[in-house]
């Protein structure tokens, strides 16, 4: 890399070159199919590519050197950088694109950054789709001051106060920050997904020991602007399993005692910063720009793309470059009309963005929509709450309902009727998408022919979908509204797995991120959403590990409900391979008498290598342990065999399960159902449970929580309801026994442990 040497020289010459790292890739696919041919950071927001907004935000803060990590469509990103005004030598900003095809997550990008040794001092880490007018340099200054006093303050996250229900605050991708109000140190971080709804968070006990006062903030927008010290990429290299910046890195640093690093937050009161995370926040950020929250980064003033706009009353922005507005058209409030757009007679446009060179035919009505460059909308169409991609052609009299994403180059109509939340592209959706969704059919329209979409499809929803006679389009499988439970998507999958993979995004959560999706539609009672930080003063347990447990008796407790549903669907692909490797590894460990710690490390490495979720590892281990128990099912021999086996593997199980005891029990339960062919086998469940209890793998409280968990009684995966029920009853019985034991032993201690 030629720039490398020059940069280092520069770094030594001028000490205070402010550097920034832009992650141009989002490592998720929420914008599909719009991102089929365009990288996400180059999608236009208010007619300017998002990346340019980010550059302008950085330039505003006096950043002199920007490294751009690009992955997908890197050639397009490079070209965009080259043609932008920031690449001019006199612009004062030096932009270095770095192509890293290997990087599949933020973590990979950071490790590559560490390898390349590009960073000489504290730097700003931003996503390539951030819009901000903040003086980030002041945050950097604050960060450096703090670093002087405390070397371990490695990162400052910029967050904006907004209120929990602000439109710009992503509902499905929000975070709770627990801050020390005096130092603004972030002491705990929790990401909040909309589904499964999280009604509580758990705060480690140490937090309360170290800090007199903490603020639990659920009203902050995570701006995705971080001021990082040079240690941050190094930490990513050291912990090669960190993928996501927030969920893995921040969470890891804050929960780890070993690292001893601290992270701070900068709460922004004045100024604007937000990230376009998904189609819904795309709409929100557009709206914020149009209503001038980003001032002076607004059309007509300092639009990063350089186009000139005339600002008219009611937040209407009309380009100064050859716009044709018909005398009879109505331009409503909060609207941008791009350069050379042609708006014909009797068109009504409200609350929308019309891209450059678009043509809107007579009598068309456009509401709450985003029409991108070169789109052609014919006469008499109605478009509501949708994103229409580049050069889309929409025929006469078409109707597009809210939430649709129409990708580049698609042709629809005439008289197309597109229902809500459809995703349509010109190219065929990738095969795996179809496979995953199974039953959903692909509607297909062919040029110059009758739309011979499958009849069944249309007869089922006669009005929902009609592509029109001259359509060139494929409808993508419906993801929104799919039954989440049956689908088996889970939040733990989303949390544990690498975020680059579409399948790992919980569908239930994703639908909150869709354009036009309102809470009311999803019918969640949001009054219940929020936090009731119940801090009890009971000092029941001194065991540190237990304090972070979900047990009603421990100090800071917020019961988890729906926090982590284990993934019971056994992923078909790499998992078979993984399973056999796991089992052989465990067998080796058994044969050669490895310590459980070694076995645990080996499993972890395997997990990394084959990219599966933690849940799956647990499942394999449970299956293995259950399989180890020899003897006729239900016989006394088997019963006697259980406790030595469990004793031998207790360490490994504890290690893998971490704090997710309830989940483990559920797994055990399911495993029993699926393994057991003979009804007698079921009887062994209670012995296992008891053995687990004896080995301190589970506590009485976890068993209690498991029993309460509604999932423990439902049919799951291959396990039938009856079998689950049987197990549950056994569990209840075991618990009664255990409680009886406990009461005996605790009578002397005079401690009441029962709720």
């Amino acid at each position: 890399m030629p720039p490398k040497d020059t940069q280092r020289d520069k770094g030594s010459e001028e000490e205070e070159v402010l550097q920034a790292v832009v992650l141009a890739d989002s490592f998720n696919t929420r914008f599909k199919p719009l991102t089929l041919n365009t990288p996400r950071c180059l999608l236009p927001i208010c007619n300017v590519p998002m990346l340019l907004w980010t550059f302008e935000s950085l330039a505003l803060a006096g950043v002199e050197q920007i490294f751009v990590f690009c992955n997908a469509h890197s050639d397009q990103v490079k070209e965009a950088i080259q043609t932008s005004r920031f690449s001019q030598p006199s612009s004062g900003v030096h932009i270095v694109p770095i192509v890293s095809p290997r990087a599949m997550s933020v973590g990979d990008a950071m490790r590559e950054l560490d390898e390349k040794q590009l960073i000489s001092s504290d730097f700003i880490l931003v996503a390539g789709d951030v819009v901000s007018n903040l003086q980030i340099d002041e945050v950097v200054k604050e960060h450096k001051e703090r670093r002087k006093k405390n070397k371990d303050a490695i990162m400052t996250m910029v967050v904006k106060r907004s209120g929990a229900f602000h439109r710009t605050r992503p509902v499905g991708d929000a975070s709770v920050f627990v801050l020390d109000p005096t130092t603004s140190e972030c002491v705990h971080y929790e990401s909040i997904l909309a589904e499964p709804a999280k009604r509580s968070i758990m705060l480690p006990r140490e937090v309360m020991e170290k800090h007199h006062e903490v603020e639990v903030r659920n009203d902050l927008i995570d701006c995705s602007i971080d001021v990082c010290s040079v240690d941050v990429p190094v930490l990513f290299s050291e912990n090669f399993d960190y993928q996501d910046l927030r969920r893995d890195f921040v969470h890891g640093v804050l929960t780890s005692d070993l690292l001893g690093k601290s992270i701070y937050c900068h709460v922004v009161e004045q100024g604007y910063a937000a990230r376009v995370r998904d189609t819904k926040s795309y709409a929100a950020v557009s709206k914020d720009i149009i209503s001038r929250w980003t001032f002076p980064l607004v059309p007509g003033d300092n639009l990063p793309g350089g186009d000139e706009y005339e600002y008219r009353r009611g937040n209407r922005y009309i380009s100064k470059d050859n716009v044709m507005l018909s005398r009879t058209c109505t331009i409503g409030n909060d609207t941008i009309i791009g350069p050379q757009a042609r708006i014909h007679d009797n068109v009504r446009i409200e609350n929308s963005v019309i891209g450059p060179r678009c043509s809107i035919g007579p009598g068309t009505i456009i509401r709450d929509s985003f029409i991108w460059d070169d789109a052609y909308v014919d006469a008499g169409c109605t478009i509501e709450g949708s994103i229409i991609g580049q050069a889309v052609h929409i025929g006469t009299g078409s109707t597009i309902k809210k939430g649709c994403l129409i990708a580049e180059g698609t042709k629809l109509g005439p008289k197309a009727v597109i229902g809500e939340f459809k995703r349509i592209s010109r190219e065929k959706p990738p095969a795996d998408e179809e496979e995953e969704e199974g039953e959903e059919e692909i509607a297909e329209g062919v040029v110059n022919g009758m739309a011979h979409a499958k009849r069944g499809h249309f007869s089922r929803m006669p009005l929902a979908l009609e592509l029109g006679e001259q359509a060139e389009a494929y409808v993508w499988p419906d993801t929104v509204g799919a039954d989440v439970g049956a689908d088996g998507r889970s939040s733990s999958a989303a949390r544990d797995a690498d975020s680059e993979d579409e399948e790992t995004e919980a569908w239930g959560n994703l639908k909150h991120l869709r354009l036009g999706m309102y809470q009311a539609d999803i019918s969640l009672s949001w009054t219940e959403y929020g936090f009731d930080p119940y801090f009890s003063d009971t000092d029941s347990s001194d065991d540190e590990e237990e304090s972070s447990l979900a047990s009603p008796a421990s100090g800071v407790l917020l019961t988890p409900s729906g926090d982590s549903i284990p993934d019971f669907s056994l992923a078909p692909r790499s998992s078979a391979n993984f399973r056999s490797e796991c089992v052989s590894s465990l067998e080796r460990a058994l044969a050669e008498g490895h310590t459980v710690d070694d076995a645990a490390i080996e499993l972890k490495t395997l997990r990394m290598a084959s990219n599966v979720t933690m849940t799956e590892v647990r499942d394999v281990v449970i299956e293995f342990v259950v399989g180890l128990v020899k003897g006729e099912p239900g016989s006394a021999a088997q019963k006697n065999n259980i406790s030595p086996v469990v004793e031998r593997w207790a360490g490994l199980i504890t290690n893998l399960m971490a704090s997710e005891r309830v989940e483990m029990l559920l797994l055990l339960q399911v495993r029993f159902k699926t393994c057991a062919r003979l009804p007698n086998y079921l009887a062994a469940f209670k012995f296992f449970l008891y053995a687990f209890y004896n080995e301190d793998i589970v506590e009485a409280s976890s068993i209690r929580a498991w029993l309460k968990d509604p999932r423990s009684r439902e049919a799951m995966g291959k396990a039938s309801q009856a079998n689950m029920e049987a197990c549950w009853k056994q569990g209840a019985h075991t618990l009664a026994v255990i409680e009886a034991d406990e009461e005996d032993s605790e009578e002397e201690d005079e401690e009441d442990d029962s709720e």
Partner: protein
């Protein structure tokens, strides 16, 4: 863009231009005085490094850069005004340097008729290219003036035959013969001239407040708004000789009035800070309203900080005199073609309402529209006198001042 790269090879200067363009665009330089000063400094730098063979080239170069600066933030009129000043000075200086022989030639037909209200004709007698066929209001006024028109007409035609370019070339050849490039001879003079503009900008407050004691009497109650260094200086200098009270409106949503109030009270001037809503009911007690200006337009109207239109209208309702203090560099050959309310520029809603409240959740009824204008337009009828560093003038006279200050060909940059 190519024009500057050809004429300017000095990299730091090119970068300086870009930086100022970017800073203007990002609104990191705001306020008439600051932008004026930055522009003047940049022009001095440009003139000192530029390569040019004729004055025409230099003015073209400056104009092309000026256009970029103006496009970067068209709402800062001072940029264009300073450029116009400098262009005119360049023409004057070169004409003077190129030979005194020309001077008498140009002087007589172009001298502006002395009117009683025009006590001291400024140095219009120096030669300057004049009155091409520009369709400005100023030209129209001159055309309408019978005393000036005939000589002008004849001069114009004779001028066109020779033409400025031709004119300039002649001299260039002349200088060539002496092996002395034009740039080297004229440059020090030009830099000197621009330096004078810079000095004038730096002393503008003192010069505006020279006559302060003539405008404020003992026992007056004066209303002012917003923060303006010109007014602060003006009131402080008046306070040396007079005893008066100042009432400052806090000027929401910028609340710059608070800064003004503290500045005045710390200078021992009795000061009262009031909310903007009290302006009208307090007006009967006020003897004079003193306002600053962002720009003085050709019809005598003003762009001022928001709130001034309210104060001026209230003053008119109570027949209270309105005095405007501003530097001469705010004279702008432009008109307000917009609506009178919130004519020029809008800031974000942040100062008016918090993001939390104003950003809105979803489905919260009708969208809340927040309008936060930065400038007000004050009609010329509402202003009684303009106090500049170039003397005191009534608003209807501004067009004249503009004509005298700038060359007609520079009206449209």
């Amino acid at each position: 863009m190519p024009a500057d790269t050809i004429a300017i090879r000095d990299k730091p200067t090119l970068k300086q231009i870009e930086t100022l363009v970017a800073r203007l665009r990002r609104r990191q330089v705001i306020g008439a005085q600051e932008t004026a000063l930055e522009t003047a400094l940049l022009l001095r730098q440009i003139v000192s490094v530029a390569r040019f063979n004729s004055i025409e080239q230099l003015t073209q170069l400056i104009k092309s850069i000026a256009r970029r600066l103006i496009d970067a933030n068209p709402k800062e009129f001072a940029v264009g005004n300073i450029v116009r000043r400098v262009l005119r000075l360049i023409r004057e200086e070169t004409a003077a340097a190129l030979g005194p022989a020309e001077e008498p030639d140009n002087t007589s037909p172009f001298s502006v008729p002395n009117t009683p209200a025009f006590p001291n004709p400024p140095d219009l007698n120096s030669s300057r290219p004049q009155l091409r066929a520009t369709n400005s209001l100023a030209t129209f006024m001159i055309m309408g003036n019978q005393r000036v028109q005939p000589p002008n007409e004849t001069r114009q035609s004779s001028r066109e035959s020779t033409g400025l370019d031709h004119h300039g070339e002649d001299h260039f050849q002349g200088w060539d013969g002496e092996k002395k490039p034009l740039a080297i001879t004229v440059k020090p003079l030009l830099i000197q001239a621009i330096q004078e503009v810079i000095d004038e900008l730096e002393t503008v407050y003192e010069n505006v407040s020279k006559t302060a004691r003539d405008h404020i009497y003992d026992g007056e109650i004066i209303l002012t708004l917003s923060y303006s260094r010109t007014i602060e200086q003006f009131l402080k200098s008046a306070a040396r000789d007079r005893h008066f009270t100042v009432i400052v409106a806090e000027t929401a949503p910028s609340y710059s009035g608070r800064q003004m109030a503290t500045a005045l009270s710390s200078a021992n001037i009795p000061t009262v800070l009031i909310p903007d809503s009290s302006i009208y009911p307090l007006m009967p007690r006020i003897t004079k309203v003193i306002l600053g200006a962002h720009a003085i337009l050709a019809n005598g109207g003003l762009f001022t900080q928001v709130g001034c239109a309210l104060a001026a209208a209230a003053a008119r309702a109570h027949s209270t005199p309105v005095v405007v203090c501003a530097g001469q560099y705010k004279l702008t050959p432009a008109w307000n073609l917009y609506h009178e309310y919130a004519a020029l520029d809008f800031a974000g809603p942040e100062k008016v309402i918090s993001f939390e409240e104003g950003g809105g959740g979803e489905r919260r009824g009708a969208p809340l529209e927040v309008i936060n204008p930065i400038y007000d337009y004050v009609k010329p009828e509402l202003v009684d006198v303009l106090i500049t560093n170039d003397g005191d003038h009534p608003p209807p006279y501004v067009y004249r001042l503009i004509k005298e200050t700038y060359d007609d060909e520079d009206m449209q940059l």
